[in-house]
């Protein structure tokens, strides 16, 4: 059922919808009408689940539980699983955002930390090298006199100088032959482990520029100690250059290597201080990150709260409730969603109301429909035992309605129904319930009434309807009716039984001359019939639910070639002990209890599935499906058939839909529309039982049928009855002129078969061609017509 079609004013669509809804129970109706709501709700529920999981998924107890492990924050094996299970296996939006932020922040912090540590280490080392070079140059100056004097004061100067710098491990002055001239060591062990050799002196002297120094590593100290070596030069100008010395010019000097100075530096304290600082900063950064993460979580949670608050109205909407309004939000994005939700709720409310109307009211008369009336009746039955009141159920059938409908047309019939409904309603009390039960039938629940009172009501009703003047087409009609009444004051009978009783009483009224009322008189036969009907309706429902039906296939032969490519699908019900029940037994109950459409649907679904399997072996085989008039009232019939054809990968011309002439006439508007749509799809149609009933050739022109099935009453005596032969021949000729092909039913012998071929009938169906069977039986084929008969026909 499509929601948008419910808005159409097309009476036929609404009528179809009404009948369709009458066949559905309340739960099914609600489910279909809110399916689209559930899709929307489902999407937003996902969002809410993420928000909700983000709100509750960052519980610290999971982190605290993990933090107890010796390896730091490490969730227990079940934590992630538990967290995922709690949130339906879905990720949390808040957690995702936070995780992304945290990862980014950790990455940046880590990068910054590493960069800081590396840069600081480099700066410290570089600075220390520069300081060392400066110190060694100073010491070179201070210690220079050591090489040319024995001034002990120099030692103190050097020691005083060195004592100012805690970074200096040792200073050592060498003579140019490698002898230690003077040594001052704070770190004796390091000083002892690092002595320059003569080879080093040669290298230093050769490599270094005039005032250059060289960085040397100290082994086994992890790089925290370095040495700087520097040659000590003595330089002087010549005596004759002094008076003419120009600082800007090139002047030769006399240089003499007099020794070496070695300086040992220790920057491990800086390193350890740096490491401590880095660790401290890292811990502080982590703490800040933790605070920021917590703040972010709170802020996000707060920010997304408006989204989370949408969960409640969405849940209400998913349950089908529309009696609420979503509060607007201060946030634009949420406000847009809220407004959309409110719009949706409003639209759904309106649609619900329309659906309610369509589902519970008859669009033509405005009265309750059959479905709603039955609900009310059931409700009344559940209360009647408690209330102890007596009620009456009336079943009204308009007399002569068919005559007006057939004579003056459907529009006139509809107007008649409307006027009758108005008169009926006007005659009742406010608390009585009246419905259009179907066609020209009305049911009334008269509450709290005695037999005498209901009799008076019915008499008044009969009088009103009888005296009502219905003008149409220049004629004036009255609206007599027959009324069947059954009284009830307890829940001994079901609504179906009461209706059956009232219906029987109505039949009795008609049988006794119409335009009268009759009370239901209980009899064994009637009770048995009612019980049987109810029993069959239950069996039909069970068969529909549990695939308790069986399809048989009767071949239809092409008379000229003898080939069988068509099979008519015949329905059976699985009975007790493997017995198959023919449709005659259960169809009346199906019709009475509105189960025909469901049966049609079952047949279409299963027949097409079977056809798909048959076509594996025989790609050209086709099936003919009998359909009731009820299914024409389903506006989605073409869609259903197309869906099943596509699902089974069948072409549309693989099925032939067979309807009776009566069904077509009774539902002419719907039938033409539906048949047109199905014909456009590619389906073919056969008009069954042609010749009996109306037998109007006009319908052959108006209905898009491909085949005309000649009623068996003309075939059974074909061989012996000339009139039957002429009738059959005329049907064939006219059908042929209209471009239709003919199929003869009830062919039971070869003479009839052959004769049909001579008369021009194209197809034959009957026991002679083949009996209905659960499988296709192409082996048993009727003999093709003899060559003599073929020649005679051609001649």
């Amino acid at each position: 059922m499509r929601m948008n079609r419910g808005e159409s004013d097309d009476r036929s669509i609404i009528t179809a919808l009404r009948e369709r809804l009458a066949a559905l129970d309340a739960a099914e109706l609600r489910r279909r009408s809110h399916s689209h709501i559930e899709r929307l709700a489902g999407r937003l529920r996902v969002v809410y689940a993420r928000v909700h999981s983000g709100v509750s998924g960052l519980r610290l107890r999971g982190l605290r539980r993990g933090s107890k492990s010796s390896a730091g924050v490490r969730p227990s094996p079940g934590f992630l699983q538990t967290w995922r299970m709690r949130h339906g296996g879905k990720r949390s939006l808040v957690a995702d955002i936070l995780l992304m932020q945290l990862v980014f922040a950790l990455f940046v912090s880590g990068l910054a930390g590493v960069g800081l540590w590396w840069t600081s280490s480099w700066v410290i080392e570089d600075n220390l090298h520069k300081w060392g070079e400066k110190w060694v140059s100073e010491l070179d100056v201070i210690g220079g006199p050591l090489y040319v004097s024995e001034d002990e004061d120099r030692f103190w100067q050097i020691e005083d100088y060195v004592s100012n710098f805690t970074e200096i491990d040792f200073v050592r002055f060498y003579t140019n032959d490698g002898q230690v001239l003077f040594e001052d060591a704070r770190n004796v062990a390091v000083a002892a482990g690092a002595r320059l050799g003569v080879a080093s002196f040669d290298r230093l002297a050769a490599m270094l520029p005039e005032d250059g120094s060289m960085l040397l590593d100290v082994p086994d100290t992890g790089g925290s100690h370095v040495r700087i070596g520097k040659p000590v030069w003595s330089e002087s100008l010549s005596a004759d250059d002094m008076l003419g010395y120009d600082p800007e010019g090139q002047t030769e000097t006399q240089r003499q290597l007099i020794g070496f100075v070695e300086l040992g530096l220790d920057f491990s304290s800086y390193q350890s201080r740096l490491n401590r600082s880095v660790v401290t900063v890292s811990l502080m950064s982590l703490l800040v990150l933790l605070i920021l993460a917590t703040s972010s979580w709170l802020v996000l949670r707060r920010a997304l709260r408006p989204l989370a608050e949408l969960q409640q109205p969405l849940a209400e909407l998913a349950k089908g409730r529309t009696d609420f309004t979503v509060q607007s939000s201060a946030h634009h994005e949420i406000s847009v969603i809220s407004e959309a939700l409110n719009t949706t709720v409003t639209a759904l409310k309106e649609r619900d109301e329309k659906l309610w109307q369509v589902a519970n009211y008859d669009p033509l008369t405005g009265l309750l429909n059959r479905h709603r009336f039955l609900e009310i009746l059931d409700g009344e039955l559940s209360e009647v035992s408690r209330s102890g009141l007596a009620h009456a159920l009336l079943f009204i059938d308009l007399d002569q309605f068919k005559y007006v409908n057939d004579t003056l047309g459907h529009a006139a019939g509809d107007r008649l129904l409307k006027q009758a409904a108005q008169r009926i309603k006007a005659a009742l009390r406010k608390h009585d319930v009246v419905s259009r039960f179907g066609g020209d039938e009305f049911t009334i629940l008269v509450r709290d009434v005695s037999k005498k009172q209901v009799k008076a009501i019915c008499r008044e009703l009969l009088k009103d309807l009888r005296e009502h003047a219905f003008f149409e087409g220049g004629h004036c009609f009255s609206i007599p009716c027959s009324i069947g009444i059954t009284m009830f004051g307890n829940a001994d009978h079901s609504s179906a039984e009461l209706l059956a009783q009232a219906d029987m009483a109505c039949h009795e009224a008609k049988a006794r001359g119409r335009n009268r009322l009759e009370f239901y008189q209980t009899s064994g036969t009637e009770m048995g019939q009612i019980a049987a009907d109810i029993n069959w309706s239950e069996k039909i429902r069970s068969a529909l639910a549990k695939d308790g039906f069986v399809l048989h296939y009767q071949p239809i032969a092409h008379i000229e070639t003898g080939k069988v490519i068509h099979y008519e699908v015949l329905l059976r019900m699985q009975g007790e002990h493997g017995r198959l029940v023919p449709p005659d037994a259960f169809m009346p109950a199906a019709n009475r209890f509105g189960l025909m459409s469901a049966i049609d649907e079952w047949v279409i679904r299963n027949a097409l599935a079977a056809l798909a399997k048959f076509r594996i072996d025989d790609p050209g085989v086709c099936l003919t499906l009998n359909i009731s008039g009820n299914i024409f009232e389903d506006s989605d019939l073409p869609l259903h058939i197309r869906t099943h054809l596509e699902a089974n990968k069948l072409p549309a011309d693989a099925i032939i839909l067979e309807i009776t002439e009566q069904v077509a006439v009774r539902n002419m508007v719907n039938a033409r529309r539906q048949m047109g749509a199905l014909a456009t799809l590619g389906c073919r149609f056969a008009l069954d039982d042609f010749g009996s009933g109306y037998s109007s050739y006009n319908y052959l022109k108006r209905l898009p049928v491909d085949y005309v099935k000649i009623d068996g009453v003309f075939i059974e005596g074909l061989v012996d009855d000339e009139v039957d032969r002429q009738i059959v021949k005329s049907i064939c000729d006219i059908a042929g002129a209209a471009g239709k092909q003919t199929i003869a039913e009830y062919v039971e012998n070869s003479e009839t078969y052959d004769l049909l071929g001579e008369l021009g009938v194209q197809y034959a169906q009957g026991y002679y061609v083949g009996r209905p069977a659960a499988e296709l039986m192409p082996d048993k084929l009727p003999a093709a017509i003899s060559g003599a008969r073929r020649k005679r026909r051609a001649g």
């Binding site: 070179d140 100056v141 220079g144 002087s236 250059d241 010395y245 000097t253």
Partner: protein
């Protein structure tokens, strides 16, 4: 007896011209060339001859041979290299600071001091910077007479004197840095044994940084931050050399003849930093004996 008329007077033969004076220049630098030119001017070109060693000690023998072949018996050694010949007995040396450690006075006929009188220098200095109170010098070993002379002049001027002996350029730098806290001014003496280009720059930079007035011996050192340079005048040197030549020729004992004039050149930027006030009289003082 008749008196014979007196015989006409017989003129004495003119005395032979004095032998030329050799002038040996250690190398071709302005300070030496200017003195050589001044000497030649006074002696006359025909009475002097200049020989240039070009800074090459091995040229000394050749020069002496040339002088001997030229009949030059006495010469003037200008600069240290010229004064390190084996036989200085007939030489007068000038433009040499370290004559004392090298014992030149004992070897030569005499010498002229390199530096202008310290009294004159101090007079100029104090005129420029009246607030001057202490002076320091650093020199190499063996300069006792020089130091005594400087000390006397400084003390006579009412100033404090601080001296340090260094044996190398770095030691000189260190000694200077240790002097800096105790002095207002530093007298840089041209002792090549303890001065190197780097040390000269270091001393100038350090002294400037610590607001010390530095007096130098060479105009070219002024841009490094010296307050002023005090140098000798070539004419003065030449005059003293010629006077000493005459005296020693007459048999006087060898001596170190002092100079009588000083040439002062000021660094006005440095002077302004010290609020030193160069006055018009400074130039007069610069010329006056």
């Amino acid at each position: 007896m008749a008196e014979l008329p007196p015989s006409p007077a017989v003129k004495a033969p003119p005395p032979p011209p004095p032998p030329p004076i050799g002038i040996i220049v250690s190398r071709d630098i302005e300070a030496y060339a200017a003195v050589a030119d001044a000497l030649r001017l006074r002696l006359g070109e025909d009475r002097s001859r200049v020989f240039d060693l070009g800074g090459d000690a091995s040229a000394s023998a050749r020069v002496h041979e040339a002088m001997a072949s030229s009949g030059i018996r006495r010469y003037v050694a200008v600069g240290h290299l010229a004064a390190t010949a084996e036989d200085l007995s007939s030489a007068i040396f000038c433009q040499v600071l370290n004559y004392e450690p090298d014992g030149l006075l004992e070897k030569a006929a005499g010498g002229v001091k390199l530096l202008p009188p310290f009294e004159l220098q101090l007079e100029r200095w104090q005129a420029l910077s009246p607030a001057l109170q202490s002076i320091g010098v650093v020199t190499g070993p063996g300069q006792d007479a020089l130091l005594a002379e400087i000390r006397q002049a400084v003390v006579d001027a009412g100033l404090q004197f601080h001296a340090r002996i260094a044996r190398s350029d770095k030691e000189a730098l260190n000694a200077f840095k240790r002097l800096v806290p105790t002095i207002d001014g530093f007298w840089m003496l041209p002792d090549h044994r303890i001065l190197s280009p780097g040390v000269i720059r270091e001393i100038m930079a350090y002294g400037t940084k610590h607001q010390k007035q530095i007096v130098v011996f060479n105009d070219k050192l002024l841009p490094l931050g010296a307050l002023m340079s005090m140098t000798s005048e070539p004419d003065d040197v030449a005059n003293q050399v010629i006077g000493l030549l005459a005296r020693t020729t007459a048999g006087a004992e060898p001596e170190m003849a002092p100079l009588t004039r000083v040439r002062v050149k000021l660094n006005p930027n440095v002077a302004s930093n010290f609020n030193a006030a160069p006055s018009a009289s400074l130039s007069e003082l610069a010329q006056r004996r």
